[in-house]
Symmetry: C2
Subunit: 213 residues, 2 copies
DNA sequence: CAAACATCTGAACGTTGGTTCACTTCTTGT
DNA sequence: ACAAGAAGTGAACCAACGTTCAGATGTTTG
């Protein structure tokens, strides 16, 4: 016997795997999933393309994992707020505002996660995570409905509506063309405007008693 | 001189072009844009692949035209209703219901138009048509706001929210897996349920005075 | 019918980008 | 140090499709 997987080795493996994911995320955050190619990624990491396959079965798997980890963070942040303190309406308002703010602060990544056309394997993740957002809203809606803070007959459907409304209202302002316009000094909507309108929209839509801050 | 483009020829050209578009639409309606390949399409039409290029510069152009014509029909139908008779809230309700019903009645095509991952050139069209829907809603919102039927401060943003809510709430139930579930006899949401919930959602969201039928 | 020219054909080509694999370079345990 | 075997390399390979083009087939006019 002359070789065995030692702890040190497994550590380095784990670290490299993470480094690959980090580089991949950078790439996506910079130029969307379109710019995530195996050759370019390997180059970024400083390894050969073949080595990527020691850590991921295929590009699809890798891309899906990048998507999942980035989206997972968002779901977590949203969960934190929606399950936090305060009455349901306040929590909903906070959740929406936070989501918009986070998306705005890393618009390019947000656009890639929300709207960029991607290969099927990644798109599956998108559907999955949209469901996860929906699940969180659904929970809150049921709680709110039970205590009379909201009026919703079909929490699942309404939750999907919320997810759609939030995503769509942000896609426009986050899209590359819109951002280019902003940087060129042309007028365009600002975060506060979208965020306020969106929040009011969501609160009203679920039958919350009155506008919340 | 021994040949000139005669009216009969141009007619046949026009007809063939239309036949190509029809076949392409069938294909998309059946298996989404993923199943729209030049070879398969040429086969459907009964011509050679090369002949397709006598009518369309590229696949992207062809696909975009298919998308546009299908979406154009929907925009038209929506415009009809939103600009029709009745107070703004009633028209909004009708528009939403009609949109849902139409999508439901050709679910596969609707899914392809709303949510299927597609090549960039087609996705551009999607963005464009989403804007068109938004524009229609925006118009109605402004009219409604002016006469006090709605309470919307940012019609453009709210219009996007409506488009997103409608699309997203339908994507789930229209998606291939959901439909497979329905056909397998497993329980799933029905059109009436989604349509009602969605309509209520939209009316409340724009601050309409009270639920409309 | 025959010249002149458009249109059609479909196998071959090109491009893009993921994936492989024979070979080299490390690590580890004795 | 050295054997045993894992990990790394990167050019070649491959698959999938859109696109092309030289030759065959139609169509029109005199």
């Amino acid at each position: 016997m002359a070789y065995r997987t030692t702890p040190a080795r497994m550590d380095r493996d784990e670290q490299l795997r993470q480094r690959i994911l980090d580089c991949a995320l950078s790439r996506v955050a910079g130029g969307g999933f379109a710019s995530l190619t195996m050759v370019a990624l390997a180059d970024d990491v400083g390894i050969a393309t073949g080595s990527l396959y020691r850590h991921f079965h295929s590009k699809g798997e890798l891309a899906a994992e990048v998507f999942a980890s980035a989206s997972g963070r968002e779901v977590e942040a949203l969960r934190e707020v929606l399950r936090g303190d305060g009455d349901p309406a306040t929590r909903l308002a906070r959740g929406v505002r936070q989501f918009a703010a986070r998306a705005w602060s890393s618009r390019s990544l947000a656009f890639a996660l929300i709207a960029e056309p991607v290969e099927a394997e990644v798109d599956e993740q998108r559907l999955l995570y949209r469901e996860a957002y929906g699940e969180l809203f659904c929970e809150l809606l049921e709680e709110g409905a039970a205590q009379g803070a909201f009026q919703v007959a079909q929490p699942r459907v309404i939750a999907a509506c919320l997810v759609g409304a939030i995503a769509e209202s942000l896609v426009g302002p986050l899209s590359p063309p819109a951002w280019a316009a902003r940087e060129a000094g042309r007028p365009s909507v600002e975060l506060a405007v979208v965020s306020d309108a969106l929040t009011t929209f969501c609160l009203r839509a679920v039958g919350a008693k009155e506008p919340h801050p």
